[in-house]
């Protein structure tokens, strides 16, 4: 009960006559603060629970191990002894010395010493751009963005800061320790290494955050540009120079953009264009689990013309569908292909853009670039790009697998046709890519086409797709994104890198009898795996 009393001064003063017990309860409610829970453990748990993070961390650990291993090898006494044989006057000009055409300039031992030293230097430099570290940082940013690009970030108080702090705690050590380790391990000047790597890290942070194609191209251009001879020379010079001012300036620039990114993350709202651009790979995780609705997870902006172009199904096939029902198997497979998000023409287009324009052209057309990339390197993507289709539609297919199975097609035929449709897409992409590389080789390096190596490697890339497809098909029953990515990483990315890295193994395999034997074995294995997988698929719940 309140009785307002008018005191001099005009303002009524209320005397509360509530019983004391009630009043203190009210006070407690007002001042009680949630001191027991802090958000940090929960945020960390989000990162820990994310299986893609596990994968990225695992690869990060492999990267760290390989870096430490090469530093250790660099610093072994024998190695130090070997490279001490470089005469001082040659050391300064070694960037020209170690290349093919200048090998006659030095004697065996010196040349060997120079090669050894600069192999490691090259490894160190390339290590500064080694992609597992960038991948790890990219994953953290993608997860962070997923957490912040949601209504919770706007409505829940003190939401963004803890998330940013955790992300920074994961990313900054990598960004700082990596260049420090490289520069001190390989005896390079720390500041330039720091500058180069922080620029690249900032670039990839922005790329992952914005998720836009032009930025991705820019990043790849910078990254691949570093592999050109011009880029390598520049970096080598820079990393061994005592420059202070220029690196500091660049570090300042990187820091500036880093702060801008933090600012933008703190202010991310739905009107901003990047809000809705989630990477497909994180959309898939939700996409494959039944409890997420479309609005939540698959936030691709279909009002964007580029998105519509890349995602729209083949109009030809659709027009034909409207006229008549497909009768032949090929037409039926084409119809199932409509259900796959990335159509072969689009993949081909993306491929041409990324590989040809950025990589090969840079290496072949930049004036004065003596570090011409052998066209053979183009086979690496030929290994793993077609199977990217498996990743892109493997998990997505689960969403509609159930309802589509109700179409009037018997279960056996249905499973076979859907698998065949995916295989057809892969084959189409492979064929398109092979054709592109044939043309590129014909223009840039025609002598390569005459070697047996070209055709053998081409055949190898084709044959290798089949067992990988079989394994993928076998594991797809488990509806697990992380399993799919793991298989993809091991077989499609790991194996080619292994081959390219060890050219000895490559030449051994390119001997015809070995090759044929391996091909037959792989095909047999694929047939067995496919048969077993098909049998298991027949008893799998489709919804």
């Amino acid at each position: 009960m309140h009785e307002p009393t008018n005191l001099p001064g005009g303002r009524p003063k209320t005397f509360s006559r509530e019983p004391i017990g009630e009043r203190s309860d009210a006070l407690n409610m007002r001042t009680c603060k949630n001191r027991s829970t802090s958000p940090y453990p929960h945020i960390l748990r989000t990162y820990l629970r994310n299986k893609m993070m596990w994968l990225a961390t695992f690869m990060l650990l492999i990267g760290i191990c390989s870096l430490v291993a090469s530093i250790v090898q660099f610093r072994t006494p024998t190695h130090v002894n070997v490279i001490s044989h470089i005469p001082p006057h040659l050391d300064a000009q070694t960037r020209h010395v170690w290349e093919e055409q200048n090998r006659h300039l030095a004697d065996d031992q010196t040349r060997h010493a120079i090669q050894e030293k600069y192999n490691h230097l090259m490894r160190a430099i390339n290590g500064a751009f080694f992609f597992v570290f960038l991948l790890f940082v990219m994953h953290v940013v993608l997860l962070l963005k997923q957490q912040i690009a949601s209504p919770r970030a706007v409505l829940v108080p003190h939401y963004r800061r803890p998330h940013l702090i955790v992300a920074a705690a994961l990313v900054l050590p990598v960004m700082i320790l990596w260049p420090l380790t490289v520069s001190f391990g390989f005896s390079l000047s720390p500041l330039p290494v720091f500058a180069a790597s922080s620029l690249l890290f900032t670039l990839i942070l922005w790329c992952s955050y914005l998720n836009s194609l032009p930025f991705a191209v820019l990043f790849l251009a910078v990254w691949f540009g570093a592999f050109s001879s011009w880029g390598q020379n520049a970096l080598r010079d820079w990393f061994t120079s005592p420059a202070i001012l220029a690196p500091l300036l660049l570090i300042a620039v990187a820091c500036f953009f880093l702060f801008r990114l933090v600012e933008r993350l703190l202010a991310l709202r739905e009107e901003m264009p990047e809000y809705h651009r989630t990477t497909q790979i994180y959309g898939w995780q939700a996409f494959s689990s039944p409890q997420f609705s479309y609005g939540e997870s698959f936030r691709i902006n279909y009002n964007n013309r580029v998105v519509r172009f890349t995602q729209s199904p083949s109009r030809r096939v659709l027009a034909r569908l409207a006229e008549s029902r497909p009768t032949s198997l090929f037409r039926q497979l084409q119809r199932w292909q409509l259900g796959q998000p990335a159509t072969p023409p689009l993949f081909f287009a993306g491929l041409v853009l990324m590989i040809l324009l950025v990589f090969l052209l840079i290496s072949h057309l930049i004036p004065g670039n003596t570090n011409r990339v052998d066209i053979q390197i183009a086979f690496v993507p030929l290994f793993f790009f077609p199977l990217l289709i498996l990743l892109s539609c493997g998990m997505q297919v689960w969403r509609t697998l159930g309802v589509d199975s109700l179409r009037p097609v018997p279960r056996k035929n249905y499973l076979r046709q859907r698998a065949a449709a995916v295989a057809l897409s892969i084959a189409q992409v492979w064929f398109a890519m092979a054709l592109t590389f044939f043309l590129a080789a014909a223009v840039l390096q025609p002598e390569f086409l005459a070697t047996a190596n070209y055709w053998l490697i081409l055949a190898a890339t084709a044959i290798v797709q089949i067992p990988i497809f079989a394994i993928f098909f076998w594991f797809l029953r488990y509806r697990s994104m992380v399993l799919s990515v793991a298989i993809y990483m091991v077989f499609c990315v790991g194996l080619p890198f292994l081959f390219i890295g060890s050219s000895n193994t490559l030449s051994k395999f390119l001997a015809l009898p070995h090759f044929l034997l391996l091909a037959v074995l792989l095909l047999l294995a694929s047939a067995l795996i496919l048969r077993d997988a098909y049998r298991r698929w027949l008893t799998t719940d489709l919804a």
């Binding site: 039944p290 409890q291 609705s293 479309y294 609005g295 698959f298 691709i300 279909y302 009002n303 519509r308 995602q311 729209s312 199904p313 659709l318 569908l321 409207a322 029902r325 497909p326 119809r335 409509l338 259900g339 998000p341 969403r399 509609t400 159930g402 309802v403 199975s405 109700l406 179409r407 009037p408 097609v409 018997p410 279960r411 008893t539 719940d541 489709l542 919804a543």
Partner: protein, 297 residues
């Protein structure tokens, strides 16, 4: 002549890891009926519907849909089936008309004029991309895709959950058209919904799913005729509990009581009045209240 049931589930069991969703379930749906499947959220409605369609495989028991084993439906049986899932998964990169063409290309007969008419009536833009569609429009599209080939058996899982009242009424009108348009073969409709008002309009049979079992399956009119709430005012305090047959719920305080019986017959009513020396008021219950009473315990 007794025609074979269009859906026949016998002793169906389905469990997911520890969760025993369907327990020894029996359900037999005669052709030509419109059956409403009622149940609480985790009762297993979606699981049952998926099992009937052959999307998931029961751990034991048999399900016969359209005279065939549900797991291995032949194409001609599938051509007579229509399904609207609870979680609508269409291809977000396609346009509405592409999706319709794509679906139509699978079925031997497709009623294009009907689809065009409904697209116009339901205000679904033909050239819209499916991705940005609202959930109500997605539901409308999903319903369209399921009825275009005039299925003999139409199964809908929460088909109207996202529809506004106008759209819902239009959808019900379409269902009723399907029911009354049975020119060559009777159309059977089985749908699960929370909206009991829709069922009361359209359904002639109701199946109530509780804890993985069908606890009631009969016509809606019988349900409403037999499930009644009694308000008893006696002269003397009533015995607790009263132990009347088929009691669904019981509330007794002194001489007054409120009891819901599952099967109230006039004889029972007369006997109660005389045995308890009480005046009894019989209250009619609508489907919503009946559902609540079934889940009282």
């Amino acid at each position: 002549m007794i025609s074979s049931p269009v859906i026949d589930c016998i002793a169906v069991n389905k469990s997911y890891k520890q969760n025993h969703v369907l327990r020894d379930l029996d359900l037999s749906i005669p052709p030509g009926s419109v059956v409403g499947l009622l149940g609480k959220n985790a009762a297993g409605k979606t699981t049952l519907l998926k099992a009937i369609l052959g999307l998931i495989r029961p751990n034991s028991g048999s399900i016969t849909t359209l005279d065939h084993d549900a797991w291995n439906l032949p194409p001609d049986a599938k051509a007579r089936l229509g399904y609207v899932p609870q979680l609508i998964t269409l291809y977000p990169w396609m346009k509405v008309r592409h999706m319709i063409d794509y679906t139509a290309s699978f079925y031997p007969r497709w009623d294009r004029p009907l689809i065009d008419r409904l697209l116009h009536e339901w205000e679904l833009p033909e050239n819209a991309t499916i991705g940005p569609l609202s959930s109500g429009q997605l539901q409308k599209l999903a319903i369209l895709l399921a009825i275009g080939h005039h299925p003999d058996l139409l199964i809908l899982d929460e088909p109207a959950a996202a529809l506004d009242p106008v759209a819902r009424r239009a959808f019900l009108a379409t269902l009723l058209d399907i029911v009354s348009d049975s020119t060559d073969a009777p159309h059977t409709i089985l749908f699960s919904t929370h909206i009991t008002a829709d069922l009361e309009r359209v359904a002639d049979r109701v199946a109530i799913l509780k804890d993985g079992q069908v606890v009631y399956h009969d016509s809606l009119d019988t349900l409403k005729d037999h499930v009644k709430r009694l308000r008893i005012t006696a002269n003397a305090p009533l015995p607790t509990p009263l132990n009347l047959p088929h009691t669904l719920s019981e509330e007794i305080s002194g001489p007054n009581a409120r009891i819901t019986l599952r099967n109230l017959t006039p004889e029972l009513l007369a006997r109660l009045a005389s045995d308890l020396h009480a005046t009894i008021e019989v209250e009619d219950l609508n489907l919503d209240e009946i559902f609540l009473e079934f889940h009282h315990a």
